[in-house]
Each structure stands twice: as C-alpha cells, then as structure tokens.
Assembly symmetry: C2
Homo-oligomer: 208 residues x 2
DNA sequence: AAAAGTATTGAACAGTTGTTCAATGTCGGT
DNA sequence: ACCGACATTGAACAACTGTTCAATACTTTT
C-alpha cells in the first residue's frame, strides 16, 4: 500500500477534507447541522482532529466563509486573454451558469449570509468580500466602457449586484428559468448602456 | 389592579408574546439563538409555557414562518379604494418603504429562507407562500394592464420578484440607497411596459 | 536506533439542549 | 365553598454540544 505521502489521490490532506465536510453539512442542513462530531463523521476522521486543525468552531466556519468568498471573487477576476467587452459579458453570464446555480453552492451562500447577519464577526468578513466583488465588477465595466467615470462604473456594478443577488436567492426557491434569463439580459443592459449626457469622459477612471 | 382579563394592554396574550419573542431572537441571533429557554426568558414566562402553547420547537418556528408569510402577502393585497395603476405602483414602492427595510424584518426573512433550505417541511410552506405572492403581484399587474394575458402577467411578476428579492437581500449588506431606488424604478418599468406585439389582447386574463 | 516532531485517536468534562410532568395557581360556574 | 377547566411554574431527564487532553501511531531527523 501507499506510504500515505501520496495515497492514491483520495485520502490526502485531511484538513481540507474537514473543511469541505463542514461546507457540505452547512449547505445541506444549515448551521444547526454542523456539529464538530457531524463534521468529523462526514470527513471520516476522529473528533479530536477537527479541533486539531481548527481551534474553534467559529474558526472552522470562518474558513468556510473565506473559501466561498474567494470563489465569488473569481467570478469577476480579469482575464487578459479576451477582449474587455467579452470579459464583462462572460462574467455577467457566469452567474447563471450550471456550475454556480447548484443548490449546494447557493444554499451555502444563503446560510453564510444568515450567519453573517447573526454574528458581527462573520458580518465584517462578508461585507469586505462583498465590497471587493463590487469593485471587481466595476473594474470590468470600466475596462469595457472606458468613457465612464469610476463612480459611474461602481454605480452600475451596485445596480447589477442587486439583480444578481436576486437571481441567486430566487433560484433556491425554484423559479422558472425564463425569469433568470430575463434578469441576465437586464444586467447586460445596465452594464452596456450608453454613457449619460453630462459625463466628463476624460478617461480618468481610476480606483481611488 | 386589573383582573388580567384586560391587563393594562401589556401583559395580555402570552401566546403571541412567546411567538414574537421567538421571531425577535431569530432575527437577531439566527436559529442557534432560538432555544426554548431563551424564548421563555425573552417573553418573560416560564420554560414550560412555551411547550404548552407550542408542542415542538418546529411548531413554534412554523408559526413564525407563517406569520411572516402572511405579512408578505399583505404587500400585494388588492385595495379597491384606489385605481389599479396606483395600486400596482404603491405595491412596488412598498418594498422599499421604511417599515419593510428594517433590519429586523429583512433578517427574519433571511433566516427563514435559510431554514427552509435546510428543512423540507419549512421549504414547502415557504414555496407555497412564494407562489401566492407571485400570484398576488400578477393579479395587480393584470388589473393595471388588462390587455395582457394572465401568463404574461405572471411572467412579469416573476421578473419583478427576482429584483425585489435582490433588494431585500442587498439591503442587509448595507448597499447604498441609490441602487435600491434604481431597482424600484426597474420593477416599475417591467410592470408598466407596453404589451408585446403578437399578443391576443382579448381580455381573457383569468387565474386558472 | 534513538529521538523529536507531527498526526490522530477517543474518552472525559462541564454546559446546553428539547421535552415531560407533577405540582400549583387562577378562573368562572354552580 | 366546591368544582372542573385552563394557565403557569420549575425541577428532572436523557441526549447532545464544544473543548480538552493524555495516549498512541506515524514520519522525519539525528
């Protein structure tokens, strides 16, 4: 048998296994379904090991929260390989992609939002990630429409995010696909709308 | 002193006091903050009384869920006193009203959504209420724009609800007021948009 | 081979949880 | 004054919670 340094690509890295077990339980049964014992069982490790890698239960949840936040940020990460307009359009359509609209991911997001609402500590992490997401989206808008001011881009990003959050949430309630498609189109309309008249298009769009 | 039949309008009806205590705790601390003991303390009654009025903890939560659902339905309740167009416009603007955009209510809504996601029982109640809400909104649209077919009204209602859910959720994350106002305007645009060309406007809009 | 380091285990502890229940209080009706 | 019906209490119970810790297994270094 393998010496465990490389164990058939399955048993490796118990720490991330524990984290993923926690996220799985959180998305399926909510926070009350995430007990240290349940996490250990789901990950196939002993109880003590969970507290070995994560001091607290809150530390464990924080790790899960940060992981989902990272994943969200990837949605608006710039990709120099394609033109700015296509980059933006792809980012806007990604939120309705099959990999994102899974119950697992959406449910996880929802439970983390609920946790952030109940706990000041989580709330700060969440708010910071939310801000970075809007910033990333605004940067994509700015690249695709350089004639807009930076504040104008952030305003559009905020408007888009409202609809995106609505899509995520409503998907969980089993809404028809048509409404999602309409919403996607609406975010594109906002992003690509022509610049307003009284706009000083001096191309000085910069993040402060 | 009052004979408790009418106790100075304060101490009356311990059952609803318990329910409101539960909703308060749920909105402030999430489901893990709602223990039978905490509810009893918050309501100022003994522990046993909570289980006297509500057999289970799940029965208690179900009652809270139904109460919020009722409250939501009121938002799209028809009001024969005003013209259909004004009725619809008022309903659309109500969701950004000061009484609705309180942290307490939004947080409560969020935690109930999270619970519904984790528990099949709550999920059904929630889905049914969601459906009734869309129906109510579609009815308002139908009254304001009789030339639309019923399916067309429901489609618009679905589109609107996506944005409304987004507003509710995003308000919790502390979004700027401007985005909310834009979103409200967007829901009005959807509701009052002119009927599409190939529409058989025979006025046969009926709920099946 | 011995030592030192890290990983992993499960039992033990003190608290908290939801639920049950006998005891007590508070009524209006007779 | 007694009654039956409902309201209210808090103690008791078993199950579960997060956390700690000494004991063991496994690797790597010496």
């Amino acid at each position: 048998m393998g010496t465990s340094a490389v164990n058939s690509g399955e048993q490796i890295d118990r720490q991330t296994r524990i984290l993923e077990a926690a996220m799985d339980l959180l998305s399926r049964h909510g926070i009350s379904g995430v007990s240290m014992r349940a996490v250990a069982r789901e990950a196939g490790v002993a109880l003590g090991l969970v507290n070995y890698y994560y001091d607290d239960k809150t530390t464990l949840i924080r790790a899960a929260l940060r992981r989902v936040d990272e994943h969200d940020l990837l949605l608006v990460a710039p990709d120099p390989a394609v033109a700015p307009e296509e980059q933006l359009r792809k980012a806007l359509r990604r939120v309705a992609g099959a990999d994102l609209l899974t119950t697992r991911y959406l449910s996880l997001r929802l439970h983390l939002w609920a946790l952030a609402q109940a706990d000041e500590d989580y709330a700060q992490i969440n708010a910071a990630a939310f801000d970075r997401y809007i910033d990333g989206l605004a940067a994509l808008v700015s690249a695709a429409k350089p004639e807009l001011s930076w504040d104008g881009c952030r305003e559009r990003a905020s408007d888009i995010v409202v609809i995106q959050n609505g899509m995520w949430l409503t998907s969980l309630l089993g809404v028809d696909k048509a409404a999602i498609q309409h919403s996607i189109a609406r975010t594109e309309d906002i992003a690509f709308a022509p610049a307003p008249a009284g706009n000083s298009g001096d191309g000085s769009a910069k993040k402060p």
